[in-house]
Amino acid sequence: MERSRFSRGDVVSGMVLAALGVYIIVEARHWEYLGADGPGAGFFPLWYGIAMVVLALLLTGGNLLRRAAAAHAVPANWRKVGHALTSWAAFAVSIALLKPLGFLVSFALFTFFVVAAIYRRPLPAALAIAVGGALGFYLVFPLALNVSLPVGMFGF
């Protein structure tokens, strides 16, 4: 059963969440816990911060115990993860380009990259889909629905 196996992802995510819990507790201690009018701004965060630390340590500890029992680790398919992360990185770059180039150009570039590089379609097809997609967005949002899109230094 996969759920009884050691998972490195669970250990790492548990540690990250434990750190987040500690951060929440530290921050919450700066705010009032209980005042004359009742609970203060630090009351609720302190308790869910503590709960987060306890649960995250349970998750991490449980997994480390499984590793100690020489259970098999759940293998990660890094090739698949790479596809998804490359797509996300391209999306992040397109967001960075929103300010200088505007939505239409950055969206066209992102679409071109996804079609040509991620899905390995011919370049002319990728170009046509990218330009057609950007044009479609322009027709639907600013023109038909009067919804404004991020505009770049070229004015579109």
Binding site: S13, A41, F44
Partner: protein, 503 residues
């Protein structure tokens, strides 16, 4: 009498040309979304939510609800034709639907799915109409301690059935509470968890998190693979889409079973349409004279889960509209939509906004008729959507996500947050952290903190107020039981089995 007057008022609202149009747009989009594997109703509603801000709230909720229940009709199409469920609630439909299609009865299977959806969907709306007003009247007696306890119970139920690991589901919920806490404190003016950024003083917009976690997380997960699926031929013409008299006769009990089970399961927070469809399929098989034939292409095996899946919508709207407590990711997004439009779902919604409540209920009757008309003759046309290549679809989803987020605030900072939450959504999928508890924690976080702090203010800081009032004590006891029971081996085995059925 109240119900009859309400329904007359509701039909007067729902039958206006503008609301009929938005109802049609909603159910049409819902059908398309349901057919497309990898794009679910919560993602679609989250993406389209910002575009509804300029609309009349009644029209907007009619459209978004149309997407919600329309997707359930569409979800069966891919289950039957491709053996690939368009959404998780249609997984069971694959068992017999796909087998019927392989035997040349694809049209009949699609027809039975549409008829079962119509019957059960209508049953769910009738039950909603009858149950919601008295429940809302009962909830009028609730005060802050009861609301806090109710939210604890709702979150506990969602956590219980959200993922294989209870610890991960709880952690996801706590992260949701933390995100809800970012910004200026409700009672004092203290800024919390803002990292010194003025952009975070107003908090993190729910729309950004919902689109990032649901839409982008889902699409990034789908972009890992480039698998092609083989579609079976769809028969053309209405005659081939109608089941035979014998098939309809065989499905009599399945229609009723799906309708009742779907509604009852829908009212429970966290259970959802996937569990409803599995339970009704199980009951249908258990009472059948030929249980051994289930899984080989029997029409009851399509009718029962499809009915339950659709009736569940009416059930899920009961706690949302009368108590303001969502039971799933999709209803959490609908709750956020209500709040963004300046409305507050809860006991006073029916009283204060009868136009919206009864208009929505009436529109669901109309929407179910629209869906039956759309789904019976136009299924071959809708099935063509499946030929749309994913490399064209996915960039469009990314684009709509940016437009949706930018439309809310006009801030590029929010688009960066969108990217961050998209990555979080993907990481959660990869690491098996369920997203529904995070979204529910986020939506309920502010209200939960407010209710807790108001309760403690009422009692001068004495937490005994939460357990000294009978209703709140009962709900807190139930919430604790819901989280403690899985610690026992047998109960946890049942819980994991129920979740595995969902996945």
């Amino acid at each position: 009498m109240e119900v009859i007057n309400g329904m007359l008022h509701g039909f007067a609202v729902a039958l206006t040309p503008v609301n009929l149009w938005w109802c049609f747009v909603g159910v049409f989009l819902g059908t398309v979304v349901g057919i497309l594997p990898g794009l679910g109703p919560p993602a679609t509603i989250a993406m389209l939510l910002p575009l509804t801000f300029q609309m009349n709230p009644t029209s907007a909720v009619i459209m978004l609800a149309g997407i919600y229940y329309g997707a359930k009709y569409g979800g069966s199409t891919t289950s039957i034709l491709l053996n690939v469920p368009g959404e998780s609630a249609s997984i069971v439909t694959c068992l017999d639907g796909y087998q019927m299609a392989k035997r040349g009865r694809a049209g009949a299977a699609l027809g039975i799915a549409a008829i079962a959806s119509f019957i059960a969907g209508t049953f769910g709306v009738i039950a909603l109409m009858l149950v919601a007003p008295p429940l809302a009247r009962f909830a009028l007696s609730f005060s802050s301690p009861e609301y806090f306890a109710l939210m604890c119970l709702g979150l506990a139920m969602v956590v219980l059935l959200a993922g294989e690991s209870l610890v991960k589901a709880l952690l996801a919920m706590l992260v949701g509470l933390w995100i809800a806490g970012i910004g200026t404190d409700l009672f004092s003016d203290a800024s919390r968890f803002t990292f010194g950024m003025t952009e975070l003083l107003d908090g993190v917009d729910f729309v950004i998190v919902a689109i990032g976690v649901f839409a982008l997380g889902e699409v990034l997960g789908n972009m890992e693979t480039r698998e092609e699926t083989q579609m079976l031929p769809v028969p053309k013409g209405l005659r081939n889409l109608l089941p035979t008299k014998q098939e309809l006769k065989d499905c009599r009990f399945a229609f009723l079973n799906g309708s009742v089970i779907g509604f009852l399961i829908g009212v429970l927070p966290g259970a959802g349409s996937t569990i409803a469809s599995f339970i009704s399929y199980g009951i249908e098989k258990a009472v059948s004279k030929h249980p051994e034939k289930f899984g080989t292409g029997v029409p009851e095996g399509v009718a029962a889960p499809e009915g339950a899946n659709n009736s569940e919508t009416g059930g899920a709207l009961v706690p949302l509209l009368t108590l303001g407590i969502p039971g799933s990711g999709t209803t959490a997004i609908l709750l956020a939509a209500f709040i963004l439009w300046g409305l507050r779902p809860g006991p006073l919604l029916i009283q204060d906004n009868p136009e919206l409540f009864w208009g929505l209920v009436a529109s669901m009757y109309i929407g179910n008729v629209m869906l039956l008309v759309l789904n019976l003759p136009l299924i071959p046309l809708f099935a063509q959507i499946l030929k749309l290549p994913v490399y064209m679809l996915y960039p469009v989803i990314f684009g709509i996500s940016i437009v949706g987020v930018y439309a809310v605030s006009g801030s590029l900072f929010d688009t960066w947050m969108l990217a961050a939450f998209g990555l979080l959504g993907y990481a959660m999928r990869k690491l098996d952290y369920p997203s529904a508890p995070l979204i529910l924690g986020l939506v309920l976080g502010d209200n939960m903190e407010r209710a807790l702090r108001q309760s403690l203010m009422m009692s001068q800081g004495d937490p005994a107020i939460l357990v000294s009032r009978p209703i709140s004590a009962a709900m807190l006891f139930l919430a604790a039981a819901v989280l403690i029971v899985p610690l026992f081996r047998k109960a946890n085995a049942w819980r994991i089995k129920a979740i595995e059925e969902q996945l």
